[in-house]
Assembly symmetry: C2
Homo-oligomer: 162 residues x 2
């Protein structure tokens, strides 16, 4: 009886269309998982999303979250991102411009950025090798400005009081 509620957002319509096209079924769990996913702007891991969903409906199983995220990805609503921490993260993909990530190895902050030149150069490199790009992934790892600032502070303080 929780399955109800008319589709509101474009994302929900995309989801329903995908469900129909694939001969799948609409369920309250899938609705909830999509809803919670859309309410965040982070790069949620499966576990993260599972925890959030569990708060609103403790009966939902983690397996269902795994399976639903896969459907959302197929529907073009989510995009898988791997940051190298061993698990898969998901970010919004619908009407979200492609972008890359800078990851701070100290605080874990993720900065999204986009560069048309970067994209163009990649196309150029691909063309040079007669390679047809399906997708690409650029990940820059390092230290964000805050962490760099913090370190400078620390250095200054410790040299002031030896």
């Amino acid at each position: 009886m929780t399955t109800a509620e008319e589709p509101r957002t474009e994302e929900q319509e995309v989801f329903l269309k995908h469900i129909q096209r694939k001969g799948l079924k609409r369920t309250s769990q899938r609705d909830l998982i999509l809803d919670v996913f859309l309410r965040t702007e982070d790069h949620l891991s499966n576990e993260d999303l599972y925890q959030l969903v569990k708060k609103e409906d403790p009966t939902v199983g983690q397996t269902t979250v795994y399976r639903t995220l896969k459907i959302l990805t197929e529907a073009g609503l989510a995009r898988e991102v791997r940051f190298g921490d061993g698990r898969t993260h998901y970010e919004h993909n619908y009407k979200h411009q492609h972008h890359d990530h800078m990851i701070c190895s100290e605080c874990g902050k993720i900065i999204e950025f986009f560069s048309a030149e970067l994209e163009a150069l990649q196309d150029e490199m691909a063309a040079k090798h007669e390679f047809e790009i399906t997708q690409h992934l650029l990940r820059i790892i390092g230290r964000c400005s805050e962490c760099r600032q913090a370190e400078k502070q620390n250095a200054a303080n410790s040299s002031a009081s030896p």
Copy 2:
């Protein structure tokens, strides 16, 4: 009694220095694993390397390969690369220019490439966000020229004989 043999290559010297610096010990297993690793130019997974090593000394355990690859990485001789197939691959890192990868999703071929402009642009983007780059990873996924050719062939053949 297999530990012997003087260091020959620069890599072996780097390895020995790292061993000493860290207070580790030189063993025949580590020597062998390094040796086999240096003899390949592929992007070996742990399993791959383990199989090769086992051919030359069946008594070496997979755990030792895991542990040794970690040491080689710390020593700067190897670099971890993740292609998204779930396991970690390793490539040579000593005096090897940084490069990126194009991965064919059909045949699995990996094309290494390098673009100074691409590197420069990344530095530029990082500077814009006051981000200090430690490392970066660019992975382009798609179809290589051979697989594209093959598909064209197939299309031509099947349309010729309907």
